[in-house]
Symmetry: C2
């Protein structure tokens, strides 16, 4: 799509006067990937449908099986194809927000992202998610939410479990918001949250209690369908994260040097 945005960085001005498209090459495996993706997006192949066998596809497309395989990898990592546990045949899958960004965020995860950035994004997204979750959560989602709450409560002492419970808490809230876009936007946050959060929990003694308290309030609000309460408590909750981070890493200046601190690792 926005392939054009690639070259801009270097020297020459971003001018496009008489330039010709670089005419990207079309390796067969990419073309085939696109063809299949098209079929999926156009619902010719619908979610859950099994894909023809590789040999079949190879025959149909008139290419070698190896080529088909490369195409399949592409779709598979995009989350459009997947295979149930111990199942041989591929089937069309509805990609879940959690898998979305794996590559990209993972790349950012341990290096370039400052905690402030993460915090700002959470501050924008999570309260909204909580608000909608309160309005639209299903009973099942509520229950799941309460489960993750319990899981966190039980995880006291085990940082790993606690962190994972917190992450799941946010994921679940986002899912309960009934808003797929919000859930999608929220997804990267979780991946990035993990490392810093575990530092906070390790280094700030009172963190766990505060998180627990906030989660309780938020869950209660969502249960009671009090949108505004849920939003506002989620806001406070996130703000707490910032305080927690400042307590965990007291030396750094947050207002200015944002380009420099990295998330912990």
């Amino acid at each position: 799509m926005s392939a054009a945005s690639r070259n801009g960085g270097s020297g020459a001005a971003a001018v496009a006067v008489a330039t010709f498209e670089p005419l990207d090459d079309h390796p067969a495996y990419r073309q085939i990937a696109n063809l299949i993706e098209r079929r999926i997006v156009d619902r010719v192949l619908r979610t859950g449908d099994p894909l023809p066998s590789e040999t079949d596809l190879a025959r149909q497309f008139g290419v070698n099986r190896s080529t088909v395989r490369e195409a399949i990898r592409e779709l598979e990592t995009h989350g459009l194809l997947g295979r149930g546990r111990g199942e041989k045949r591929l089937r069309v899958t509805r990609p879940e927000p959690g898998r979305v960004s794996t590559g990209v965020s993972r790349a950012l995860a341990l290096h370039d992202v400052t905690y402030l950035e993460l915090w700002e994004a959470m501050m924008a997204i999570e309260p909204a998610a909580a608000e909608y979750a309160a309005a639209r959560r299903t009973p099942a989602q509520l229950e799941e939410l309460m489960r993750t709450g319990t899981r966190f409560a039980r995880a006291m002492g085990d940082t790993g479990k606690a962190v994972s419970a917190v992450v799941d808490f946010f994921t679940t809230v986002a899912a309960a918001s009934g808003n797929q876009v919000l859930a999608l936007s929220q997804a990267p946050v979780n991946l990035l949250l993990e490392p810093s959060l575990s530092e906070i929990i390790d280094r700030v003694p009172q963190a766990s209690e505060r998180i627990l308290e906030a989660q309780r309030r938020i869950i209660a609000a969502i249960k009671a369908r009090r949108s505004e309460v849920a939003r506002s408590w989620m806001g406070k909750h996130i703000q707490d994260f910032r305080r927690g981070y400042e307590l965990a890493f007291p030396l750094r200046s947050h207002s200015e040097g944002r380009r420099h601190e990295k998330t912990a690792r």
Copy 2:
């Protein structure tokens, strides 16, 4: 989902009692992909570095070239590897937010997502992005922003160009926010925005003018570094989108049947 991500500790301590894990399979190509990804994330291979040749990798990993190739596809579509125009060798790439979700959002894009969902997500993210953009934009970013503004102004009449200019406007604001996480979260929104937006522009005559006006205000605020003004105008701007949509598709009930309307296409 995050089951695998816990590899760091590698402690076998997290024992379940009587249940056995399904023991996920480790196809070689996936393992190899992970190994390479690890090297990249750990900066052993740094951005811009060329990757060894496929034959080399095959030798190093002790597998066949075909297998390596499948692994490479995986990383390639994750955006971690790429190759400059007409270049043979792959090199390590820093994936940009724009590419992130291509597969996933594309899948949602034309089907399940209601406009309301999209709007809610934008309402959460864009004002925040505008606020930070006002605070932190660089001169270059400001200039680019003004260019996209101009591009939209010039695109009057050509829906395609107009839509693309609007999308770029949001992308640029997000980039100017200096917050990579926010930019990442905002990325899916753009892909989803396109179809509905073009309907709006086509069907609501005054839409273009209102967008233009809002963009002007927002850009002015960002230029003047007035964070609050930028945020508030961006909020109004997004709200306009909702009104625009309601004008474009007057029959649908937005408050209730959210699970049912699809974005146009």
